[in-house]
């Protein structure tokens, strides 16, 4: 017995929570529609059940792409070196995420090499060098202004020679509407294949958790240029929720792998969709 539909206030409130978490109007409406359908089918719904339903629906949108349900920082064993190229718009946290990831892999006893292919931004190379020193892993670099593809090439050569397990390539931040810069990224990727023909095994797109709907276009354009295979969402230690990744993950079928929760070396976590959804209500 009880209500056969959720009342409007509850749905309005849900809409506000989702939109305010940067989920976006489209995805929000999609989620609300699904909930309305479920309510029609299952009839009675109290607030607790509704919250549970919401978690399920959002998790559902994220789940097709999170098949592995990763629980730790693991990399496939068969590929050696396993090459990760990190891309994204300016200032989202690429270099920092690389430092944190290198730390995690190193902790597991992996041999990690970093490549400083951001040769453009002021002191970008020095910044990655600081991280390499912190984690105590080797870095391959050239001078500021040199060809990023050439740095990536050198890095892979060196990694192969050292018999490294993981290579992480930093790239300069670039806005996705700059065609030349996006083409440059395609070239960096292609050049790596001259050394390791299946490289890069992973293209990690870093999204700033405080970014709004523009993240969609970022995902679209970076995917076009480099076939993004995974996402990291940073700066979730603040009040921003990063909800836009729900729609992105759903539409482009790219899994969210990591979240950044601070500036420190330990502040990277493996993405957990339930905790992520719960954070919208805090």
């Amino acid at each position: 017995a009880g209500k056969s539909k959720v009342d409007d206030d509850v749905l309005d409130n849900l809409e506000e929570v989702l939109v305010s978490s940067d989920v976006g109007v489209n995805t929000t409406l999609k989620i609300i529609e699904r909930i309305e359908e479920r309510v029609l089918r299952d009839k009675y719904l109290g607030t607790d059940e509704l919250n549970q339903l919401l978690r399920e629906e959002i998790a559902g949108l994220l789940s097709e792409t999170n098949v592995g349900e990763e629980v730790d920082f693991s990399i496939p064993n068969q590929k050696k070196p396993y090459v990760i190229m990190v891309v994204g718009v300016n200032g989202v946290g690429k270099t920092t995420t690389i430092g944190k990831l290198a730390y995690q892999f190193k902790k597991q006893g992996k041999k990690v090499v970093l490549g400083a292919a951001d040769t453009f931004r002021a002191a970008a190379i020095d910044q990655l060098q600081v991280w390499a020193d912190r984690v105590e892993v080797p870095i391959v670099k050239q001078n500021m202004g040199s060809d990023p593809a050439s740095v990536a090439y050198d890095t892979l050569k060196s990694a192969v020679a050292q018999n490294a397990d993981v290579v992480i390539i930093d790239t300069a931040g670039r806005l996705h509407n700059k065609i030349n810069l996006m083409n440059e990224l395609t070239k960096v990727k292609r050049v790596m294949q001259k050394v390791v023909d299946s490289a890069p095994h992973e293209v990690l797109l870093v999204l700033d958790g405080s970014t709004g709907q523009n993240a969609f276009e970022q995902a679209k354009q970076f995917t076009k240029a480099t076939e993004v295979t995974s996402l990291a969402v940073t700066k979730l230690d603040g009040t921003a929720k990063g909800g836009v990744v729900i729609g992105i993950s759903d539409q482009f079928k790219i899994p969210v792998k990591y979240i950044g929760v601070g500036e420190g070396i330990e502040d990277l976590q493996v993405f957990n969709k339930y905790e992520f959804v719960d954070s919208f209500f805090k």
Binding site: D22, G91, A122, Q127, E263
Partner: protein, 296 residues
């Protein structure tokens, strides 16, 4: 998506016109489209609501429903309202101090260091000032190096002290340095910080207290979503900043954060960043921003 908001509104109103009597309910329908456009542009949820309520009153006052192209008139009302909300007091920079002290603030990666450089270049080249850049970010790896590289590119002096990890002391020493070396503008770059980080917010409050800046600027990434209001409000509560810098507008973000921030703190948007190069800045044009938010 809303390249043709005007068409959409025309259609919404037209259909309803067919029913003869046009009422407040019809306007409400079209306002839904406006609200949706604003939310898609990352205007804050509450700001968008308040905004559409204001537009509704204006629309009902201006007989939108009896004109031939009601959609166009609605768009005009929306645009004018957006423009006037984001505009206001023409916003220069206070250069009256000797030296004039400018303090930069904002979240991580918003573009503070880059804009510090751009502003220094602008003041040097366009206003014949002798700026000093000050490195008060003692946390981010290579932050000091970054500011030095920028300074070298611009041929502007940079003050830093790698032995000192107290930004308040560095800022004070830099101002003394500026006085003895004839710098008439001091631009203090600070570390990125989150509004919820109490310790870091206290730090910048202390810098602010110690150097009493002529201008405190809040630097915000134009791609920011719904959180823009929280952050702007929190920084404003602590610093009572004088103006906003909106960066990375060379991208394709609609930039609704501009409206949200203006409505929540009511401080002028003074400059925009339009690229990574040191000359990529401009003054803020409210009307252009309104077009952009509406996707027109």
């Amino acid at each position: 998506m809303f390249d043709n908001l005007s068409d959409k509104l025309d259609k919404a109103l037209h259909v309803l016109k067919g029913h003869g009597q046009i009422t407040e309910i019809n306007v409400a329908e079209t306002l839904k489209e406006v609200r949706r456009a604003l939310l898609d542009a990352d205007v804050n949820f509450k700001t968008a609501k308040e905004f559409t309520n204001r537009v509704k009153e204006k629309a009902l006052g201006q007989n939108v429903l009896t004109t031939l192209q009601p959609g166009q008139l609605m768009v005009k009302i929306v645009k004018d309202e957006l423009t006037s909300l984001m505009g206001g007091d023409a916003a220069g920079i206070d250069l009256s101090g000797n030296p004039s002290v400018i303090l930069m603030s904002g979240l991580q990666g918003s573009g503070k260091t880059t804009f510090s450089g751009k502003l220094a270049g602008f003041l040097k080249n366009k206003k014949t000032k002798k700026p000093l850049l000050v490195a008060c970010d003692v946390y981010r790896p290579a932050a000091i190096d970054q500011l030095h590289v920028v300074g070298e590119q611009l041929e502007v002096d940079v003050y830093s002290d790698r032995e000192n990890n107290n930004p308040v002391a560095i800022a004070k020493a830099a101002i003394a340095h500026a006085k003895t070396n004839g710098h008439n503008v001091v631009i203090v770059d600070t570390a990125g910080r989150l509004a919820v980080d109490e310790q870091m917010m206290t730090e910048i409050a202390n810098i602010h207290k110690a150097i009493k800046p002529n201008e405190t600027l809040f630097v915000v990434d134009s791609m920011t979503g719904q959180d823009a209001v929280n952050t702007a409000k929190a920084f404003n509560d602590v610093l009572n900043f004088d103006g906003v810098i909106l960066t990375k507008l060379d991208g394709d973000t609609r930039g609704g954060a501009a409206l949200s921030i203006k409505s929540v703190v009511n401080k002028p948007i003074k400059f925009i960043g339009t690229g990574e190069k040191m000359d990529a800045m401009d003054v803020f044009y409210p009307s252009r921003m309104a077009d952009r938010i509406l996707g027109m």
